[in-house]
């Protein structure tokens, strides 16, 4: 009956959790084809691509294969050496929850957790990520342990358009990892690198504090 954008779409927490789990499991562990970024020819093995570069694109820098440890799962990616992690997540792995806002390291929308620290995926070369433990919003949302945080964000409607929200949420998860009971001031300090153009700031601290209480068994009122 309703045809307007957004009408009629409701996604429960459980359905969303299943969807992100599916997205993660769809990422292939090993590469089965190697596509030339300059002419789109596809090769069954990496050596074929290297030889093609030497023969057809002499002087150009060939793509490389990097092994990433993403959301607890190892996976190979074929990238050009200058690619950022943000670009790799979107264009190679289909992980689009890590958002591209400024692409300059100022907005926090592309935040992921690397070896326990929130970092900006638009400022990190994928080639530097090999062997590092990387968590994206998909991994956090798929993990039942973090359901209270996702729930609290939704309950407090800590988003307007939602474009920046995943960056905030990943930063919030990193905060709760190191400080399970943050004060409002600590939440604000932790989120200081995240920008929300819609202006949802106060709700993030409320959501994080409520999630912290729920995760420590304190429960939620209302």
């Amino acid at each position: 009956m309703e045809s307007k954008i957004g009408a009629g779409m409701t996604l429960t927490q459980e359905a969303a959790q299943r969807r992100v789990a599916d997205i993660i499991s769809a990422i292939p562990v090993v590469l089965t084809e190697y596509r030339c970024p300059l002419c789109a020819r596809v090769f069954p093995g990496y050596s074929g691509l290297r030889e093609h570069y030497e023969a057809e694109h002499a002087g150009a820098i060939a793509p490389i294969v990097v092994m990433l440890m993403l959301n607890g799962k190892g996976c190979e990616v074929l990238i050009e050496p200058h690619w950022t992690l943000k670009r790799t997540l979107q264009f190679r792995l289909g992980l689009t929850g890590t958002k591209h806002m400024c692409d300059k390291g100022v907005c926090g929308s592309c935040t992921v957790i690397m070896d326990g620290r929130p970092v900006l995926a638009c400022q990190i070369l994928t080639a530097e990520c090999e062997g590092r433990d990387i968590q994206t919003i998909e991994g956090i949302a798929a993990d039942p342990k973090w359901k209270p945080l996702i729930d609290a964000y939704c309950r407090w409607d800590a988003m307007q358009c939602g474009y920046c929200t995943t960056g905030f949420l990943v930063t919030a998860k990193a905060l709760l990892d190191r400080n399970p009971n943050p004060t409002e001031r600590e939440c604000r300090e932790a989120l200081a690198g995240n920008i929300c153009i819609c202006g949802t700031y106060p709700r993030h601290s409320q959501a994080i504090i409520e999630a912290a209480a729920a995760m420590s068994g304190g429960g939620v009122d209302g």
């Binding site: 307007k4 954008i5 957004g6 009408a7 779409m9 409701t10 996604l11 429960t12 927490q13 359905a15 969303a16 959790q17 969807r19 992100v20 997205i23 970024p37 300059l38 002419c39 789109a40 694109h57 150009a60 050009e80 200058h82 979107q90 264009f91 992980l95 689009t96 929850g97 958002k99 591209h100 806002m101 400024c102 692409d103 300059k104 907005c107 929308s109 994206t136 919003i137 998909e138 949302a141 996702i150 964000y153 939704c154 309950r155 407090w156 409607d157 988003m159 307007q160 358009c161 939602g162 474009y163 920046c164 929200t165 995943t166 949420l169 920008i195 929300c196 153009i197 819609c198 209302g222």
Partner: protein, 475 residues
């Protein structure tokens, strides 16, 4: 007609009004990262496109050589403004009818002349650098007051076409300046009926656009025998303008497919950029899906224009406004700033939310090369900051809560003569007051314990453009 007698009329119990902590329908999709915005789409076999962007604020391309760019490995196609299919396209989004792209740029970073399609964005950029462009650099205007002077350089090289929304200008355009004057009622009589008159000036700086997501689309064509002859256009990232983009390519709505729901900045994302409109043409040319995305800098448009305003407002001892005399000088930005920018936005006005009918609204609208002013805000100044200022000045003068002043002056839903209250509006206002713990006092009357001033403000805003922009409430 407002349904005052029906379900939304005199009802006083509300499911949503006055409640907080209500998750939106889309909240879980947004919070978990499932939500895909236009820029997020990646489809198999996708090529990428980029526009040539002007390094100058006002310039024309005399000629462009594409041979070196075409030779860059990975370039699939190069389109220029002289191509027949580009000429046929026409502007689909904001702005009066115009060529989709041409040889003219009237702001820095404007899309001009050429689009490159390649295997990836890096190659597009390399090819753009390899273009041999002969620019004719023209003098530019970035200061609205200087642009208003007779001797100012001309900011827009294209002839303005009449906007379908704007009333005819009050006098012919001169240099960069279009003139608008909308007068209704009897101004002198209105001021005579006033117990008080306030006069004030206000300068609003230009306000930069609020879209968090760089605008982008990906489009492709696919066969679909179920919906009649010809291929379907599939486009992601056109958000609310799916049908408009379809129209640009002669594709009916039932054959224009978009599965994505999400738009950044919520209602600020509905003015399409060229990157969101061009992909169907490019996809047709190369026979593959094509993605085109702005960078953040390429999206550096102004949302609100700069305005210098003078207002004189008459009102009674109760706070009822009896007359408004309004003159402003407004930055009209670059060509195609909004559907309204060619003359003015006062097709809506003047001050149509007020009971007061004695209003003179004059505006000098000045073209500049500063940038696009997508929501110029010229249409209804009383709904924005100038109106809020008037309400605060009246409130200060009379010692009244500005919310009450605003409510007193707002007419009912049917016309300026409609004095009926609207229960849902009243309930929203009361719930808002209660949630905020709103306790108005005159400015400076109270301070924080450490002596600092503080405060929350009430903003009087009923923007017709937002009202009709299809903003989807999430609740």
């Amino acid at each position: 007609m407002a349904d005052l007698a029906g379900a939304n009329g005199q009802r006083e119990d509300f499911r949503v009004v006055g409640k907080h902590n209500l998750p939106g329908k889309l909240s879980y999709a947004l919070a978990t990262g499932i939500a895909k915005f236009g820029i997020d789409y990646v489809v198999p076999g996708m090529a990428h496109a980029k526009f040539l962007r002007s390094p100058y604020a006002n310039a024309r391309i005399r000629s462009v050589g594409t041979a070196r760019a075409r030779a860059v490995p990975g370039v699939l196609d190069i389109v220029t403004w002289e191509d027949e299919d580009v000429k046929k396209l026409g502007a689909g989004g904001f702005g009066p009818p115009a060529a989709y792209i041409d040889d003219t740029a009237d702001m820095e970073n404007a899309e001009v002349g050429v689009v490159v399609i390649a295997e990836n964005e890096d190659i597009c950029e390399e090819a753009l650098r390899a273009l041999d462009v002969d620019w004719e650099i023209l003098p530019h205007v970035v200061d609205v007051l200087k642009g208003r002077q007779d001797a100012a350089p001309i900011a827009r090289q294209r002839q303005d076409a009449p906007s379908m929304f704007a009333p005819p200008p009050s006098q012919p355009k001169r240099g960069n300046v279009s003139y608008a004057a909308t007068v209704q009622g009897d101004l002198a009589q209105g001021f005579k009926e006033a117990d008080h008159i306030v006069e004030y000036t206000l300068k609003l700086p230009a306000f930069l656009s609020g879209m968090p997501n760089p605008p982008a689309s990906v489009a492709w064509w696919e066969s679909d025998p179920y919906h009649g002859e010809g291929p379907d256009l599939h486009i992601e990232g056109a958000v609310q303008r799916r049908e408009n983009v379809g129209m640009m390519y002669g594709v009916p709505p039932e054959k224009t497919v978009q599965t994505g729901l999400f738009q950044g900045g919520r209602y600020c994302d509905w003015g399409l950029r060229k990157s969101q409109e061009i992909t169907p043409l490019l996809a047709k040319r190369v026979g593959r899906p094509v993605r085109c995305s702005n960078t953040r800098e390429e999206t550096f448009d102004f949302l609100m224009n700069e305005r210098y305003m003078y207002l004189k407002v008459g009102f009674t001892n109760e706070g009822l406004i009896t007359a408004v005399d309004d003159f402003s000088i407004a930055d009209n930005g670059a060509y195609g700033s909004s559907s309204f920018g060619a003359a003015n936005d006062q097709g809506y006005g003047p001050y149509y939310t007020l009971k007061c009918k004695n209003i003179s609204q004059r505006m000098d609208v000045v073209d500049t090369n500063r940038g696009k002013m997508y929501l110029s805000g010229q249409h209804c100044p009383f709904n924005w900051d100038s109106g809020t200022m008037a309400i605060y000045l009246i409130a200060e003068k009379l010692g009244l809560d500005p919310i009450d002043v605003a409510k007193l002056n707002l007419h009912g839903p049917d016309s300026q003569d409609d004095t009926r209250p609207v229960p849902s509006f009243e309930a929203c206002m009361e719930a808002g007051r209660e949630l905020m713990g709103w306790q108005w006092h005159r400015s400076g009357e109270r301070t924080l314990p450490d002596g600092r001033r503080h405060g929350a403000s009430f903003r009087y805003q009923i923007c017709p453009r937002h009202a009709f922009s299809g903003y989807e409430c999430k609740l």
